[in-house]
Each structure stands twice: as structure tokens, then as C-alpha cells.
Amino acid sequence: MKAASFAAAAVVWLGACATPPPGPTSAALQPALAPTIDWVCLLPEADGHVGRVFVQGGDGAATGVLEGAYNTARVATDGRLRFVQADAATMERRYGALLRALPGQPR
């Protein structure tokens, strides 16, 4: 059941990877309170070390910890958490340009 849930969330994640970032010309034009899906993915550091990210749903009722490379959490508007396992290729496809914009990163 848990694996099926992860797989379903991964399909949503990969589906999102296939589309460009949403939004009009300027982020300032977007409604601030529109429902969102929030994602967080833990990455390994350059030396392979992986830290931790503690995730708390909006109302504080749901919490979880990311502590493995590419552990990913999805947080919906209702504050519920779902966890999926991403991978380096997915992160590169979706966020490669963003990661290369981090100061001090190889171009």
C-alpha cells in the first residue's frame, strides 16, 4: 500500500517534470493564496554527505524527516505529507539549470 502510494506520487512528480514551470510572465501577477503543492528534495553534498530536512505540514499535525539522498516530500494544501524517492537523473532533468545557478557550482 505504501509502495503504491509512493509510486502514484512519483507519477505526479515525473508528470510535473515534463511541463515547464507554471505561471504568467511575472510571478507578481500570481495570486498569493492560490492552492499549491510544495515539494522538497534532499540532495547529497559535493563530498557525498547528506544532511537532514525536517518537514512539518502547515498545521503542524504532520511531520517527517528527509535523511537520505533524493528523499522527497510532497506537501498539499491540507498539510498532508507524502514521501517519494527521486533520483539524480530526475533532479537534473527538472532542476539542472537551477542547480548550476548556485554560486560556486560547476557550470
Binding site: P21, S26, A27, W39, R52, L98
Partner: protein, 138 residues
């Protein structure tokens, strides 16, 4: 604009700066929008806004680095440097878009020293690299 608990004097101090700017990137300070350029200082309570073609790289005094992706909005809510007398603290809010972070000294100082708020979550960071995305609900 999201309120900050930092005193006014602290807000006047630069805590970091833009390292790279591509496309449309601006900073909203005191309700006034300024075009972002490399080396422009970043202060507490600043809101960084990128357009659809915008991407920005920022560096902070504690060696934290951020990259803000297209169509994003990020507010620096609170920043207390590790060298100060108070407990180190770095709090920001991403209300839209995507953010990559390589955490610096503040995130290594204690479990709750660095937080990123999103519309649906609070993330507590303990010395690491991570990506956050706030996407419109399908």
C-alpha cells in the same frame, strides 16, 4: 510583505548579495521594486522576485548559497549571523517557484537555526543541500 521580528537597525545591514542574475530579477525593498544586478546587497525583509525568464544566484555571509528559479518569490524574513551574540537564525519564505540551497554555517549550528517556509510547510534544515518547489495545484 511578510513581517520580520528583526529590529530596524539589523534590517539595514547587508546579509548577502546577488552573485549572478539572468533575465528578469528584481528586489522589493520598502515597497519599492528595484532591478537586481550582480553584487547588489540583500537585506532582511527584502523580497526577491523573478520573472518567467529570471534566475538568480545569491551568497550570504554564513556561506549559504541560494539559487532562485523562474517565476519565484522569496522573502528573507530573519538573518542572525553566527558571529553575533544572539543564536544564529536564517528564516526565509518561498511563496512561489523554486529554490535550491546549499546551507552554510547557520544551518550547521543547531537543528532549528535555518528554516524555509512554504505555503503548506515549514522546513527545518540541518546542514545540507536541497531543492524546494512551490507549484500551482493542478
Amino acid at each position: 510583505m511578510i513581517a520580520t521580528a528583526a529590529p530596524a537597525a539589523a534590517q539595514d545591514m547587508p546579509v548577502g548579495s546577488f552573485k549572478t542574475v539572468q533575465g528578469s530579477v528584481s528586489i522589493v525593498r520598502g515597497g519599492i521594486e528595484h532591478r537586481a544586478t550582480p553584487a547588489l546587497a540583500v537585506r532582511v525583509a527584502d523580497e526577491i522576485v523573478t520573472g518567467r525568464d529570471g534566475i538568480a544566484g545569491l551568497g550570504f555571509d554564513d556561506q549559504t548559497t541560494l539559487a532562485l528559479g523562474p517565476s519565484s518569490r522569496l522573502v528573507i524574513n530573519q538573518y542572525v549571523a553566527p558571529s553575533g551574540g544572539a543564536a544564529p537564525r536564517f528564516e526565509s519564505s518561498l511563496s512561489r517557484g523554486m529554490l535550491a540551497v546549499t546551507a552554510g554555517k547557520i544551518a550547521r549550528s543547531s537543528a532549528d537555526a535555518m528554516t524555509v517556509r512554504t505555503p503548506n510547510a515549514v522546513l527545518g534544515v540541518r546542514g545540507t543541500r536541497f531543492i524546494v518547489e512551490v507549484a500551482a495545484e493542478p
